[in-house]
């Protein structure tokens, strides 16, 4: 199955937060009052009831306009969260979507600590963008309802959903246009990092300005966990049990071992 993705064009986004509202609506999430802290980003961060937020930036010089970032799970091609989830709650679908089965989540939070962006939020169970897994999987290809709710809702045409390879091509073209317009830092975020992100972002400025790591790293230390500590644990526990059984069976320590 071909990998799907959606692309967010921050140069077209107008910060209406329609996507943010529809995300809550579709996923049936609570809205909790917040306090105004001098920035328009609201709620101030992802939380167990909020899968995505539009971040507002009003301090990019020399640009006098607002800048926005749609912030949520990026659906890594190589998702660390899936690798560490001990209960198998998180999984990567054939089409690349990183979704989860909340009935399996044990709320350990390992995914949160492994994700290079710290995306998964855990309340009673995990909460994060699943690219509207149920919508995307249910619809047929020609059926335009089978796209994520946020993409469907965007009035500015800042969101497009489709085959990832197509989107990468389109995104690159758009970046060229922006560069010609004078945004020399313009870039397509997520083309190659972390196995290629399933959420691509067209940015006018360098990713760091939006609080995104330019080169996010896959936490290799988690390989130690499954590669070494899993077998080591079995060896230690099994070894101790084996030693004990052996000792008893062979009647060892008969002569010494008085202490």
């Amino acid at each position: 199955m071909e990998r799907v993705a959606y692309m967010y064009d921050s140069s077209k986004c107008m910060g209406c937060r329609g996507c943010q509202s529809i995300c809550k609506e579709w996923n049936d999430q609570e809205t909790v009052p917040t306090t105004f802290k001098g920035v328009y980003t609201n709620p101030p961060s992802l939380n167990p009831d909020t899968r995505m937020i539009i971040k507002f930036y009003d301090n990019f010089t020399p640009d006098p306009n607002f800048n926005f970032l749609k912030y949520q799970c990026f659906h890594c091609g190589d998702p660390a969260c899936v690798k560490v989830c001990p209960s198998g709650a998180l999984f990567q679908a054939e089409n690349g979507i990183v979704a989860f089965d909340e009935n399996k989540c044990i709320a350990c939070g390992y995914c949160h600590s492994a994700c290079p962006f710290g995306i998964p939020q855990i309340g009673k169970v995990i909460n994060k963008c699943d690219m509207c897994y149920s919508r995307v999987m249910e619809g047929s290809e020609s059926d335009k309802t089978s796209i994520p709710a946020c993409v469907k809702s965007c009035p500015a045409g800042a969101l497009t959903f489709g085959k990832r390879s197509d989107l990468v091509e389109q995104g690159k073209k758009r970046v060229e246009v922006l560069k010609k317009k004078g945004y020399t830092e313009a870039n397509l975020y997520g083309e190659n990092i972390l196995g290629g992100l399933g959420v691509l972002a067209i940015l006018k400025y360098s990713p760091e300005k939006y609080g995104l790591p330019k080169e996010p790293v896959f936490p290799n230390d988690i390989g130690l966990w499954k590669g070494i500590l899993h077998p080591l644990g079995v060896i230690m526990l099994g070894g101790a049990a084996g030693l004990v059984v052996l000792h008893r069976a062979l009647n060892l320590g008969k002569k010494g071992g008085e202490q």
């Binding site: 939070g109 390992y110 492994a114 855990i122 966990w225 320590g253 010494g256």
Partner: protein, 216 residues
């Protein structure tokens, strides 16, 4: 043989020992099912993996708080114990080099050096339990409040936690075997389980140095 009895473990110590051990076993059992979800049977003991996780997380608090209560309540007992396990004598060294003779004749040991109240193996176990339990508690806290710590620290904590847990589990298996099953030393179980008293003859033989000390 109506032998004289000597008190080895005080009542509070015995209560603490068993409460802590039972807690540890549940923690090991639930932790094992979380670390190795393929051992579905273990998770199933609690209905589901999620219940196992819940028990593991919240019982963890008890596991940490219990020794704190015990030590502050019985500070003298503990400091005596601590002094005992902190002094390693030449006899202890010899004991360790032949592993107490438990593996005779694989490791040759025709004579086992006389030991104090605790033999070198027990002293070592004391240290392992104290150090690893503290590490388990600290890393467990970091894991409990994972959202307040940097991801790398949490992941390192998880690895230390897992290592300490499985190692301690292995140590406790050996400890239990020697204290409860192994014929030459299984009297220890009764001491811990029952009145805390132990036969004088047994002490004379197993803890000769301690016996001398008591006779002084």
């Amino acid at each position: 043989m109506a032998a004289n009895k000597i008190e080895k473990h005080k009542k509070n110590t015995r209560i603490f020992h068993w409460l802590h051990l039972i807690t540890f076993i549940i923690m090991l059992w639930t932790g094992f099912s979380l670390f190795y979800p393929w051992t579905n049977v273990l998770g199933m003991t609690f209905g589901s993996l999620r219940n196992a996780a819940f028990i593991h997380k919240y019982l963890g608090w008890f596991y940490v708080i219990l020794p704190i209560i015990y030590v502050s309540w019985n500070f003298k007992l503990f400091s005596n114990f601590f002094k005992t396990i902190s002094t390693f004598t030449p006899e202890d060294k010899k004991w360790l080099s032949i592993l107490g003779g438990y593996l005779h004749p694989i490791i040759k040991a025709d004579e086992v050096p006389p030991q104090g109240k605790y033999n070198a193996g027990q002293k070592l176990l004391g240290w392992i339990i104290i150090v690893f339990s503290i590490l388990l508690g600290l890393t467990g806290l970091i894991m409990f409040y994972y959202a307040s710590f940097p991801g790398l620290l949490v992941r390192i904590a998880i690895m230390i936690h897992v290592f300490c847990g499985t190692f301690l589990g292995a140590a406790v298996i050996v400890h239990f075997y020697l204290a409860a099953i192994n014929p030459t030393s299984n009297k220890e179980l009764g001491t811990m389980l029952g009145s805390g008293m132990i036969d004088e003859d047994y002490v004379k033989h197993h803890n000769a140095l301690w016996y001398e000390e008591l006779k002084k």
